[in-house]
């Protein structure tokens, strides 16, 4: 299939529809508006439903109802909107329903701005809503990968009966790149859905979609079961890319848009005779801890590079587990780090290490 040039946000919509998404509930917020706009135009053509909700809170609860009724459903938003959706997300996780949530991250806190950022890392990987729950979180670095991961996200959601988040940033959402829609092939055997609410027809006991457990013991059992599911995700779903990891003096850790800037910095440093590696997490939960197992002896330390004030660094420190020093370089508020900025931070850390 020939490659086509497409804007990131529209590519997300197209990928979702190709993956069989039939229902979209959302609310406008910059910089992700092309997603609901695309869905409003294209979903009716495939017999699907687009509905603009009165708020993000309503939109995610519509997703909750639609997922419970057995629909393949998606919502999208940007940072403050995702914050509003957290109420619904914890209910969906608690009731174990599949859905896909796209976050095209902008700067915060609060209303923040509308420029690209990665400062929702903690919101995505640490819950955000109440209770012990996890989302499977994908962090694509380009529009093609966004397309591939959106398609995969629907299957992963069905497989785990869990909300799955695809987290891009304003840069990936707004940029145009050539993409190819591959034939969607699931790598998982998807379970049937005997639990959905579609009416008993008098043939079975009522199905109840619920996250309420008034008995403390029952709720603990439920949580233990959820944790087993998250453990399976950790085992099977962690993904990452290695770049220039043969004999690095320092290993940078960066995801999404930032990883592309870091790659440029690494290439430029190589010309200066400084060998730096990159571990790029593709899943933020589960964080790819395995990537930190066989690190070459040349490595003197790690550095987390983020478009935030230091959120992923906690996961890097956990993965490094005290074996190396962990530095940090980040910009925030919608300021995009430059290769020069990254290079200077690397040299400073190497100087310090020497």
């Amino acid at each position: 299939m020939a490659k086509i040039l497409m804007k990131g946000n529209e590519a997300i919509g197209a990928a979702a529809i190709k993956a069989g998404c039939k229902y979209f509930f959302g609310y406008p917020i910059t910089p992700q508006n092309e997603i609901p706009e695309y869905m409003s135009k294209e979903l009716p053509k495939v017999g699907g439903v687009f509905l603009q909700a009165e708020s993000e809170v309503s939109a995610i609860n519509m997703v909750y109802g639609a997922a419970g009724a057995g629909g393949r459903v998606m919502t999208s938003s940007s940072s403050p909107g995702i914050a509003l959706k957290q109420e619904g997300i914890t209910y969906i996780a608690g009731a174990e329903l599949p859905c896909v949530i796209v976050n095209i991250v902008r700067g915060g806190p609060g209303l923040g701005g509308i420029q690209p950022a990665q400062s929702d890392y903690n919101q995505a990987t640490r819950g955000g809503g109440n209770g012990d729950y996890k989302l499977l979180v994908y962090a694509p670095a380009n529009v093609q990968e966004m397309v591939d991961l959106v398609q995969e996200a629907f299957d992963a959601a069905d497989y785990y009966r869990n909300p799955v988040m695809v987290m891009g940033d304003g840069m990936i959402g707004q940029m145009m790149e050539p993409i190819e829609f591959k034939e969607v092939k699931t790598r998982r055997e998807l379970p049937s859905k005997p639990w959905i609410t579609d009416g008993t027809k008098g043939n079975r006991k009522p199905n109840i979609i619920n996250s309420l457990f008034l008995d403390a013991g029952e709720l603990e059992d439920h949580n233990i079961r959820l944790q087993a599911k998250y453990a399976e995700m950790k085992e099977k779903e962690a993904r990452y890319e290695n770049y220039n990891m043969e004999n690095p003096e320092l290993v940078l850790v960066a995801y999404g848009t930032t990883s592309r800037i870091v790659k440029n910095a690494i290439d430029e440093l190589k010309e200066e005779g400084i060998n730096i590696g990159l571990i790029r997490p593709i899943t933020l939960f589960p964080f790819p801890e395995k990537a930190f197992e066989d690190i070459p002896e040349s490595c003197k330390g790690f550095m987390s590079v983020e478009m935030s004030m230091g959120q992923m660094i906690d996961d890097v420190k956990i993965a490094v587990n005290g074996r190396w020093p962990v530095g940090f370089f980040g910009r925030s508020g919608g300021v995009i780090p430059t290769p020069t900025g990254v290079k200077n931070a690397v040299k400073e850390m190497l100087g310090g290490a020497k």
């Binding site: 609860n61 109802g65 419970g68 459903v73 609410t197 009522p206």
Partner: protein, 248 residues
């Protein structure tokens, strides 16, 4: 021997948790009877709220979905858009519907969403222990209005049905109560008409049912029924506020 009265198939055998004198049990039964009589029990998908009727999913004998506080109309919207052929309803109290979920109920009516809402108004927060609701009457005491609700501090009690009746997408709006056998029969008739409105695809339908809360009102069940009649009905008058044109 002819059977003149029996348990409806619309209710499960589960023992209800409601306080003595509370009318949730009667209202559950009316919803269940109507679903059975319309022969839609097998097509019904209900949404339970947060509040006293949070466990409605254990009592109603159809597919059920538990929603978070106030969001039942949004959840029902998601269900109905996926399953337009099913009968979808929400069952909500006044704290849930008239306070935290005001936006959701207004917009479900505004969209003319083809769902039915049973709105139980007992003028107080029941499950959380008797705090003031938007529907609490002027002078009525609540744990968060210990001297009684005043207009200056909290405004007038919200007349939800009157508000929703102004919205074009609301096809059927009626206020009823269940304080006497005659009113129970009228309430059932309204609930049936509301579901028929949905089945005919005419738009959003809601029945507000004035109810009692003997526990948090600090009254006996009998006194509560008297207080409802003397205080609630004058402020929240019974009757139909809106029905489809051709049904008038």
């Amino acid at each position: 021997m002819a059977v003149v009265f029996q348990k409806t198939k619309g209710l499960t055998d589960k023992e209800m948790h409601y306080c003595p004198g509370c009318t949730h049990g009667i209202i559950h039964r009316l919803v269940a009877e109507v679903l059975e009589e319309l022969d839609v029990l097998g097509d019904a998908i209900g949404v339970a709220p947060v509040g006293c009727s949070v466990l409605a999913y254990d009592y109603l004998n159809c597919d059920m979905h538990e929603a978070s506080h106030g969001r039942a109309p949004a959840v029902a919207t998601g269900i109905k858009r996926v399953r337009p052929e099913n009968v979808v309803f929400t069952y909500q109290g006044d704290g849930d519907l008239a306070s935290i979920g005001t936006a959701e109920i207004v917009h479900v009516a505004h969209r003319g969403e083809k769902i039915t809402t049973i709105f139980v108004n007992n003028a107080i927060y029941g499950m959380t222990g008797g705090q003031m609701a938007p529907t609490t009457l002027i002078g009525q005491k609540a744990t968060t209005a210990p001297l009684g609700r005043t207009v200056e501090h909290s405004g007038m009690p919200l007349k939800v049905s009157e508000m929703l009746a102004t919205i074009d997408g609301a096809a059927f709006v009626e206020r009823v109560t269940v304080d006497s056998p005659a009113n129970v029969r009228k309430a059932k008739k309204a609930i049936k008409a509301a579901f028929e409105c949905q089945l005919a695809g005419k738009g959003f339908s809601i029945v507000e049912v004035l109810s009692t809360c003997p526990t948090n009102w600090g009254m006996s069940p009998v006194e509560s029924l008297g207080w409802l009649k003397d205080n609630m009905i004058p402020y929240y008058p019974l009757g139909n506020l809106r029905r489809p044109e051709e049904d008038k």
